[in-house]
């Protein structure tokens, strides 16, 4: 049986890679979600932007990059810097902060494959069709709910 059988969450929004991070943040807060898929204009899946990526964009670049500061305790609460960076999200493109190398589920992926892949990530996984177009997002909870139902719980 493939994951086609699971009623997975239909994404209401698929952001374009040129959208800014502020827009992504607003949508995440509004929809109470940690992840948003990113697609081309024709709906081809590109990657996922997460709240993690937004937090990464907020910390000072001096700590974000390889070889940067590993200890920021001496900076203090840093709220002033963080809010400044938050306003700067408008100038950052989601395409640059998106995670693109994640595993992707096919519409006809077997259920066991989906369980395996989702057990190895901390995020829901995108589901794409044979044409590479975005079909939806499968979350760990949706998958478990389906399995629980199958087990007659």
């Amino acid at each position: 049986m493939s994951i086609n059988a699971i009623p997975f969450f239909q994404p209401t929004t698929c952001l374009g890679p040129g959208e800014n991070l502020m827009k992504a943040l607003e949508l995440m807060l509004e929809n109470k979600t940690n992840h948003l898929p990113i697609c081309d204009t024709d709906g081809t899946f590109i990657g996922v932007i997460s709240t993690n990526a937004i937090l990464r964009a907020l910390i000072p670049a001096s700590a974000r990059v390889e070889g940067g500061l590993s200890n920021l305790k001496f900076v203090g609460d840093g709220v002033r810097m963080l809010t400044t960076h938050l306003h700067g999200l408008e100038n950052l493109k989601v395409g640059e902060f998106a995670k693109k190398d994640m595993p992707v589920l096919q519409e006809d992926s077997p259920i066991l494959e989906a369980v395996l892949l989702l057990s190895q990530t901390h995020a829901p996984l995108p589901v794409v069709g044979k044409d590479g177009k975005m079909r939806g997002v499968l979350s760990r909870r949706a998958l478990l709910a389906y399995l629980a139902q199958q087990a007659g719980l």
Partner: protein, 446 residues
């Protein structure tokens, strides 16, 4: 680095040793310049060819290795590898920023001073590797363009490195070959380094300093930094500072205690390793020591080893003797002219190429000039070479490893330092520093 080279070369196919050694040497340097293959591999392959072709035998190649340079470099690398974990660089940078109440121009000067002092006492690459992120963080908090700060960190590291025996690898090599100690460098190089440093701040002020502004609220944020939190390991910090002080004291007293710098640095490294692992179990000791040795820059060490053999090859074949005679002829046997030519050629060469192979080659060339200028006058030429090679590194982004380290970090952090804009500003500033060095040479030694 020569002296044990007596046997006649038995070069393959009866070819001229002069031609074979020069071909290997030029080819190796040419490949190093392209940067297509890691320089340490190229140097070791070239060294191997020098031996296989019969220019040198293995004994002669080993005699060419300057183990005093290798020992001093390795010892200091071990000490730095341990010290950098303590957070002392970040601590000092934050204290310096707060001393000037996070004033933008004051901050630029202070970060430059901190970088210069650390670069003079430790290696330049580690210094900028640890100072550049702090500079970026503080300018971030102050909403300032980090470019002037990163630029001045680069300049300060090369100028500071010029000041002491241990500040920059060319100085280590020169000191070892010419038997010049820590105090000789401090007495002869530090004054010019301080002069160049202060004078370089003037254009920095005119170009950037007077226009820098930070809002009081942003400065207050930096003033609220708690430098004590930057110290990640207080015990390690005390151990490191203790050993570094001891090692520097050793360098200062080297002449009195009749010891060479390599012995002092290696002993310091061993002492710091001992303090580090004291009281730990065997497994943890192995892990710590293994990790520390792993942080020694082996690429640099193997590069030096290969270069020493290459240079020993061309030296034995007589290439460097000819080069020395040509330079003497060119300068008309005049010490003034020779000192100035060495200074300027070293500066321009070091701005565009790696200064380490350049200095490795120039050392025997200058030694070969002793009969003409007299051994007592050679020191002037050594200082010319040291000033040119160290300060020349400021001329372009590829002039010194520290420059590339800062540029690489800035690029990753989204604040790229471009080759051409850097060159257009750095090269004239570098030339100005060489004008100052030239005047210093003239006034003090000629």
């Amino acid at each position: 680095m020569h002296g044990a080279l007596h046997t006649a070369s038995q070069v393959v196919f009866g070819l001229s040793p002069l031609l074979v050694s020069l071909s290997i040497f030029v080819l190796t340097y040419a490949i190093i310049v392209t940067e297509k293959i890691n320089r340490s591999i190229v140097a070791l392959l070239g060294a191997g060819l020098m031996i296989f072709s019969g220019v040198l035998n293995q004994t002669e190649a080993f005699a060419g290795l300057d183990l005093n340079t290798i020992g001093l470099l390795t010892g200091m690398m071990v000490i730095v590898a341990i010290t950098q974990k303590s957070g002392v660089f970040q601590y000092v940078a934050v204290v310096a920023a707060k001393l000037v109440r996070a004033d933008p121009w004051g901050l630029l000067v202070m970060l430059a001073v901190v970088t210069a002092v650390f670069s003079a006492l430790l290696d330049n690459v580690t210094t900028v590797l640890l100072i550049a992120p702090v500079a970026l963080l503080i300018t971030d908090a102050l909403k300032l363009n980090p470019y002037p700060y990163l630029f001045s960190v680069i300049f300060a590291s090369n100028i500071g490195g010029a000041a002491t025996l241990i500040g920059d690898p060319p100085n280590i090599m020169i000191g070892s070959a010419a038997k010049l100690g820590f105090n000789d460098f401090l007495w002869n190089m530090a004054p010019v380094a301080v002069g160049v440093f202060v004078l370089t701040l003037i254009p920095f002020y005119l170009i950037w300093g007077r226009k820098l502004y930070a809002a009081p609220e942003d400065r207050a944020q930096v003033m609220a930094f708690n430098e004590r939190e930057a110290i990640t390991d207080a015990r390690l910090l005390k151990q490191s500072l203790f050993v570094i002080s001891l090692v520097i004291l050793g360098f200062v007293l080297a002449h009195n205690i009749a010891q060479e710098p390599a012995t002092i640095a290696m002993f310091g490294a061993a002492l710091l390793l001992l303090l580090r692992v004291f009281g730990k179990g065997a497994e943890e000791q192995t892990h710590d020591v293994h990790h520390t040795y792993g942080e020694v820059e082996w690429v640099t060490i193997f590069f030096f080893l290969g270069l020493f053999v290459l240079v020993a090859g061309v030296e034995k074949a007589g290439v460097l003797g000819i080069l020395a005679r040509e330079m003497v002829d060119f300068t008309g046997g005049d010490l003034h002219t020779a000192a100035f030519v060495i200074l300027w050629v070293s500066a321009v060469a070091s701005a565009l190429l790696d200064n380490i192979p350049f200095v490795a080659t120039m050392i025997p060339v200058i030694q070969n000039m002793a009969p003409v200028f007299g051994a007592e006058n050679l020191n002037t030429l050594w200082w010319s070479l040291a000033m040119g090679a160290c300060l020349g590194g400021n001329g372009s982004l590829v002039g010194a490893s520290a420059n590339l380290v800062v540029a690489g970090f800035a690029e990753r952090a989204g604040q790229p330092i471009r080759f051409l804009p850097f060159l257009l500003m750095a090269f004239p500033l570098m030339l100005a520093s060489i004008v100052v060095s030239n005047a210093y040479l003239w006034l003090r030694y000629l």
